[in-house]
């Protein structure tokens, strides 16, 4: 059994409106030193796989096919034994 953590963010070239709004709100709350906020998705999943490499391959496939829209999003993931 493996546990995967997937991080999906907008590509750097795409404007992250939500991140900007969060940044402004944080500043308004007196968190002065905050710069460059980016808001994305965090997906945790458990999966069965033959080995770690297979698990990683599966997670990559999931990202490409469903979890991320690669026109505007990029993804990273971490897989560990669970």
């Amino acid at each position: 059994m493996y546990k995967a953590k997937v991080f999906i963010t907008l590509k750097k070239s795409v404007l992250d409106t939500q991140g900007q709004v969060v940044q402004r709100s944080l500043q308004a709350l007196n968190f002065g030193g905050v710069e460059d906020v980016r808001v994305g998705k965090y997906i945790e999943l458990q999966l069965q796989a033959a080995d770690k490499a297979a698990a990683e391959q599966a997670v990559r496939d999931m990202c490409e096919r469903l979890l991320a829209n690669t026109v505007i999003e990029q993804y990273k993931y971490e897989v560990s034994e669970a």
């Binding site: 795409v14 409106t17 939500q18 469903l66 829209n69 026109v71 505007i72």
Partner: protein, 252 residues
């Protein structure tokens, strides 16, 4: 012209589209369940608005894997007319049947209101009943209608006449002030290269009867019907050529 309106789990404009095709346009229409594996026998397929699969993950991302979508892709490849409205548009972009993506509105809020659309050209299957540059009054109702496509993709779309509608002011001026959601180039509706698959964020079905504030949305449905009639017309003679090169459609 026989229409099919697809019901995805969470669709909520399915009945509205059905109503307009049936009651306003007087055409035969059926609902098609998302689990269906065929859309044979339909000349026009409508992917309605709503929140398919609760808009989870991304709008349209999950619905696009519905069994019926395989059949819709085949129908599109065979030249059948496919119309995605609002969530339907989002599904079509996720499915790769239309270019680009629809991102969250710049305001990060859902927006429901009447606004104006400029018809870019009337040489498509979806706008041929309009006059060139006509301004339509049609409502939007979405949280994610902010159209984006990579620059090269966009350039190709412009070139091919794939941009059909842009948000504009009442007099037709396409301005930043008229852009409700941050859409690139004020884009509100587009079609594919072949000219038979269309997606638009505004709701023509909500503005096809005078009692609903505006009947301008009817121009879209009338265009579709007119195109269908032309294409199936025997005479074949005096048809003007379509700007979308590969399509066989023509307007007398």
């Amino acid at each position: 012209m026989k229409f099919g309106v697809i019901i995805f789990p969470g669709s909520n404009c399915d009945r509205d589209c059905y109503h307009v095709v049936d009651q306003v346009m007087g055409q035969p229409v059926d609902f098609i369940w998302h689990g269906a594996d065929s859309v044979d026998g339909y000349d026009g397929i409508i992917l309605p608005g709503g929140f398919s699969y609760g808009d989870y993950l991304r709008t349209g991302a999950i619905a696009r894997f519905s069994p019926v979508m395989g059949a819709v892709e085949k129908a599109a490849a065979a030249g059948k007319t496919v119309i995605g409205i609002c969530n339907g548009f989002q599904i079509l972009t996720e499915a790769g049947m239309l270019p680009g993506v629809l991102r969250r509105n710049e305001s990060l809020q859902f927006i429901c209101k009447f606004l104006h659309l400029k018809v870019e050209h009337n040489e498509s299957a979806f706008t041929n009943a309009c006059s060139p540059g006509q301004v339509l009054r049609v409502p939007i109702a979405h949280g994610e209608g902010n159209y984006y496509a990579d620059p090269e993709v966009l350039a190709g779309m412009e070139e091919n006449g794939q941009i059909l509608f842009r948000y504009c002011e009442a007099d037709g001026t396409v301005s930043a002030a008229a852009n409700p959601n941050g859409s690139l180039e004020n884009i509100a509706g587009i079609c594919n290269r072949e000219g038979n698959v269309m997606g638009m964020m505004p709701h023509p079905e909500r503005s096809s009867e005078e009692i609903l504030t505006s009947a301008d949305g009817r121009f879209v449905f009338e265009s579709i019907l007119r195109h269908f009639k032309m294409r199936n017309c025997e005479c074949g003679a005096a048809h003007a050529t379509c700007k979308i090169k590969t399509a066989k459609c023509g307007v007398r």
